[in-house]
């Protein structure tokens, strides 16, 4: 039998609140619920017994399809291709203030080195207090060369400096750390677009905070619209984040999740984000 509209609405409104409580953005939760309504109304449910449980099970399965995950091998393949072409692969890191970019840059360098690649880091945050010293210290501790200039220098100049050093030293990968910036400041987003044009990175990675709520959508959307992003990394998942922002960001930008940051140490980079996220979402 087909469920009644009332049964479907009951199940959908509970599901809606579960999504919101898991930090899925309101506009994303709206869209998900609206897209599922039709298929739920068309479902075959048993005549007797817990009919709503059958509908709930369908909703639970739909969560998995909402998380868009990237294959890290695609990134590694690109690095191999760059190596064959005799040039370093370049990855540009962008994102809002305090989302974990600098820490993630060093984690990714460590991840790549474990897989046999040489990496140098570019300290292109020439704005924030202590930013250069922070990356230099992290880099030194982990054994990575950090290319930096002075505060106030043009981020593009630092990036190009790093690219040149990487080319001459035959280093495989250059990771470029940039200053945090708010999506509301168009000028700062344009600065990123200009940096991307100059540096021509193989990938742009957006690092977002897993604890962010509805702002996560607007932040990721604006970075994607103005700069253009290829992958998303969500950090601080270990801070009990439910991870709903991963769904919101996937849904609004279509860009896939590459890693999750699950702590402050070098190894705290999760390369199987889907499983960890489903566990965090707890659906």
């Amino acid at each position: 039998a087909k469920p009644s509209p009332k049964e479907v609405e009951n199940v959908l409104s509970d599901f809606y609140l579960q999504l919101i409580a898991a930090d899925v953005a309101v506009e994303t939760a709206d869209a998900i619920v609206n897209s599922l309504r039709h298929s739920l109304l068309e479902m075959d449910v048993p005549r007797f017994g817990d009919r709503e449980a059958v509908l709930k099970e369908v909703l639970k399965k739909s969560i998995e399809s909402l998380i868009k995950v990237a294959d890290v091998n695609h990134v590694l393949k690109r690095v191999d291709e760059a190596r064959k072409q005799g040039r370093p692969a370049v990855i540009l890191f962008v994102g809002p203030n305090g989302s974990g970019k600098t820490t993630t840059v060093v984690k990714l360098a460590h991840y790549l080195r474990k897989r046999g690649y040489s990496v140098i880091l570019a300290s292109a945050d020439t704005f924030r207090a202590g930013a250069i010293e922070q990356l230099e210290t992290l880099g030194q501790r982990a054994g990575f060369m950090v290319v930096s200039q002075s505060y106030g220098a043009d981020p593009a100049a630092v990036a190009v400096d790093a690219l040149n050093k990487a080319s001459s030293m035959r280093v495989n990968v250059v990771l470029i750390d940039t200053a945090g910036r708010t999506e509301v400041d168009r000028g700062l987003l344009e600065e990123m677009r200009k940096l991307k044009r100059v540096v021509k990175p193989d990938f742009v990675i957006y690092t977002g905070d897993a604890l962010a709520g509805n702002a996560a959508v607007q932040q990721a959307k604006m970075f994607d619209e103005v700069v253009g992003i290829d992958y998303v990394i969500l950090s601080k998942v270990d801070a009990d984040a439910k991870g709903g922002s991963a769904i919101s960001i996937s849904h609004s930008t279509g860009k896939p999740l590459l890693f999750l940051g699950v702590g402050q140490e070098l190894d705290d980079l999760e390369d199987k984000p889907a499983e960890k996220l489903l566990e965090a979402l707890g659906f």
């Binding site: 919101i20 709206d30 809002p96 305090g98 207090a129 604890l211 702002a215 439910k242």
Partner: protein, 290 residues
Amino acid sequence: GRSLKEVFRKFLASPSADKASVEELIRGIQRSLLMADVKVELVQKISERIRARAFEEKLPPGVSRKDSVAKIVYEELINLLGGKPAKFSTGGKKPYVIMLLGIQGTGKTTTAAKLANYLKVEGYKVGVVCADTYRPAAYQQLKHLLEPRQIPVYGEPENNNPVEIARKGLEHFKQMGVDVVIIDTAGRHRQQESLMDEMKMLEKELKPDENILIIDGTIGQQAGAHAAAFHKATPIGSIIITKLDTSGRGGGALAAVAETGAPVKFVGVGESVEDFQPFNPSSYIASLLG
């Protein structure tokens, strides 16, 4: 969906406030509050309060049901901010010791500099202690922000005992005769047991006059749970919401206020040391309602 302004306008333009139009208004308010990251339970609680008061209250003379409902919405939201006074005061204690606490990356260090600068402008002599022994270059970050403003910073980059650093910093500034000491600490969250223990140790040894919880204005539904954990470990005296210059509207702070009973005293509205303002409840509520 329509903006809450349009929903309110439609409500106020309707001939009378019947149950259906009030329900429609409540739905609009719910959506706005959820989009501003107000916790689901609080949104439900506020809806019940509006619903209950909208039709059960006796109308003052000359006031329409509609105007009464609009006033009720505003009052219920203001109530969520708690009745405590939100103005900074040292109550005459010298030095008045403030400790900043919060999750990683929420803006503690930047806020330490902002609050120090704000208080200096208000006429207080301020000293800042870097008791963050985890974040690389935390001390440099504070010095970079405060040296240009001639606000002294105490730190021991080689020492990894935050309690010892803070105690010596406090003594150092006591000798200098400062009015206020602000202690910046490492970012931490409730799943990091040893860091939560460190925080309890800092509280026990330093006995700050005010523990300020720094809340990221972009935080979502987890704000209440985190605030409760901080408050359970060390009593929170007040809250500062940061990054309100972004798309975040700081709705998470309402849950933090509910869990800690602490008032919001200041907000951060940008990366510069000057981007700091006393908390304004009316404009905060207005932005929550979108």
